[in-house]
Amino acid sequence: MAADIFAKFKKSMEVKFAEDYGTNQQGGSDIESKTANFLRLGPEQSPRKLEMIAAGKEIAKKRGLVGYNPMMHTGAPLGQRAITPYTLSGTDIVADPDDLHYVNNTAMQQMWDDIRRTCIVGLDMAHETLEKRLGKEVTPETINHYLETLNHAMPGGAVVQEMMVETHPALVDDCYVKIFTGDDDLADEIDKQFIININDMFPEEQAEQLKAAIGKTSWQAVHIPTVVSRCTDGGQTSRWAAMQIGMSFISAYNMCAGEAAVADLSFSAKHASLVSMGEMLPARRARSPNEPGGLSFGHLSDIIQTSRTDPEDPAHVALEVVGAGCMLYDQIWLGSYMSGGVGFTQYATAAYTDDILDNNTYYDVDYINDKYDGAANVGTDNKVKASLEVVKDIATESTLYGIETYEKFPTALEDHFGGSQRATVLAAASGVAASLATGNSNAGLSGWYLSMYLHKEAWGRLGFFGFDLQDQCGAANVLSYQGDEGLPDELRGPNYPNYAMNVGHQGGYAGIAQAAHAGRGDAFTVNPLLKICFADELLPFNFAEPRKEFGRGAIREFMPAGERSLIIPAK
């Protein structure tokens, strides 16, 4: 496997640096040469920049106010070295760099939309209210009727009240509710259109784990309209959902609209039975639930679905989580919510393009399997005991291999032209590897921090200023029992102390959490409800293949939701 990935990495370098792209005249270059001929062709060498320059001129003319003009770059415009494309790791999709900024990429936008607009609401408490308090009968038939009502109401259709305005179905066609349960008998009775069937969506062993974890409970997977979520915020998701849930119960079970039990149903939907994707952040960051800063690494691991579609390749599972995490946490959360601007894209793409991290990780898999008797394969009785000696061995070999690869392939070094990019890749490979071998995510975190130390000493440089704080003190937190320090990686998140300011880390941490569980063959990382909720092919974004989806977004093949074409003048 590692040999195949190494060949893929070399191919990506050749596509990027040894073939022409646009008019960059890179064809025939040697990917192992330490020198290059810098032609200084400017932005016009890139097909996308040409399109953007034309658009900028047209906009300026139309509105009478200047806008995009790459010649405004002080000293010289972009393109003094070759503008080169990116291969999305694990795929054959080649994308223009600009198309990996989330503003230019609808798949990236939709991934975040699909998470932010989702909440999970338990059905059992509401059913108990209906049965025990009101004496109503709840049967599979009534549940089906309720779900039919709810799938009318959730997108914005009216029930109960007269003369209500409604949303146009064609604008909210991505909104729906399905349910899932660990009770196979109940699942069989529910109309197929409404059920996420655990037995169908997961490998048999994972399905058993999931059903055992959630028991015979029943849950609603709610996805409110993308357009609603974009106009409001993540905190709106549960409120919108709870309103429609309450109204649908009233309608489906012929309740009195004002009776006190409605408050119980509302409380259940808004609080007691609600599972949000992300927790609310403290006042100094002031974000509602279901915003990225509160989305734990364990939750993100559970949202990404590669663990069920490719369970025998735990390295791949972890790499998809790293890619998704770097996009969401770096490009959208830190890059826009917390900072603003365009630079964060460069940090994030390093982890999911050009097969550089993949190459390092699969090298590690072979190293572990050779030295530790197949410990990187899926299983629980093949793991090596997590100890500092094991972490040191694996993380050191991983980091040294990664460093030497950059040294042997100057094009890879030029691809990851910033130290933060390289630090992300080297540390993520080390952390994922230590996790895979031990099945212990905090051993993975240890590997991450050791990699940072080795990297800094080998090259006398690391990332930007902030890396020194986070990555020099991080090791002291990995095994601390103090509550705000020693949290298991699965429960850490973007707002964990010291994690809140640094790009290039959080996707890696999520991948490390995932690697520990994918390596063990676990069906989920921390929350089975999220894992099942996103096992749904009706979602616009395919959470089993986030890196491929980003590529489809970049080459403009991805179809997003929440579009407004219906209600705007035709162009």
């Binding site: 020198t35 070295r81 460093i403 100057p410 094009t411 130290g419 003190c473």
Partner: protein
């Protein structure tokens, strides 16, 4: 017994060079005039007075303060100079310096300096004349190679980019180049054109750069080959990890 600072572990030439950089015991390889240094720094016109942000300390009537009595102000602070910067980018293809070792050099050998360390550049901020003293040493000694190191205030990328075919580190803003076997610089740190060509000296040969560098590389001195340094890093890692293991 006289204490001899150890500075850095390691048995290789890279480790030895790191110890030299930190100690400040450096070989002078070239000269740059004060006027030329002032020109490429770009903070003031060569020959002009230092702009100041406050009167000389002696004229300020400072309050009684034991710390002020203990700490002798630097010349720049005494005179009331502005705080200005010098920043270098160093190629990963065997440039003599690396960002951390430029910082250690500055912090160990100069007073009143504020070093900042990144992956592709290293900055020292200080009162202007103090900064110039630090900058001059870096320009004239084995810490820098004119071809593989570059004084760059903005748009610094180049440290990890392949070298130009003439062996010079890439510079998007083309501040300096090889002319007649020597490196000349005709723009200042932020690429504002100068009215002169400043001669920065001859580039190091590949062999000399490999001998003087402080970066480990697999094609020169591999990091994994310097076992003492790797062992030392492991020791730091062990100690930080176990330090944090506090079950109370």
């Amino acid at each position: 017994m006289v204490y001899n600072p150890q500075y850095y572990p390691g048995a290789t030439s890279v480790a030895a060079n790191r110890r030299k950089h930190i100690s400040g015991d450096l070989e002078k390889l070239r000269e740059i005039s004060d006027e030329d240094l002032t020109a490429i720094l770009g903070h003031r016109a060569p020959g002009s007075d230092y702009p100041s942000t406050h009167p000389p300390l002696a004229e300020m009537g400072e309050p009684e303060c034991s710390i002020r009595e203990i700490v002798e102000p630097t010349p720049g602070a005494k005179a009331g100079d502005r705080v200005r910067y010098v920043q270098f980018a160093d190629s990963m293809y065997n440039a003599p310096a690396t960002p951390y070792f430029r910082s250690y050099f500055a912090a160990n050998n100069f007073r009143g300096v504020d070093p900042g360390t990144l992956s592709g550049r290293q900055i020292v901020e200080a009162r202007e004349r103090d900064m110039e003293e630090c900058a001059k040493v870096q320009m004239e000694t084995e810490i820098s190679c004119p071809a593989l190191s570059g004084m760059r205030g903005a748009t610094v990328h180049g440290h990890s980019v392949r070298l130009q075919e003439d062996g010079v580190m890439f510079d998007m803003l083309d501040r300096r180049r090889l002319e007649n076997g020597t490196i000349i610089m005709d723009k200042d740190q932020v690429a504002i054109p100068l009215d002169r060509k400043v001669d920065l000296g001859k580039p190091m040969s590949e062999e000399e750069a490999a001998k003087r560098t402080t970066i480990y590389r697999v094609d020169n001195v591999p990091f994994r080959g310097d076992e003492e340094v790797v062992e030392w890093v492991h020791r730091v890692f062990d100690q930080r990890t176990t330090y944090g293991f506090q079950p109370l």
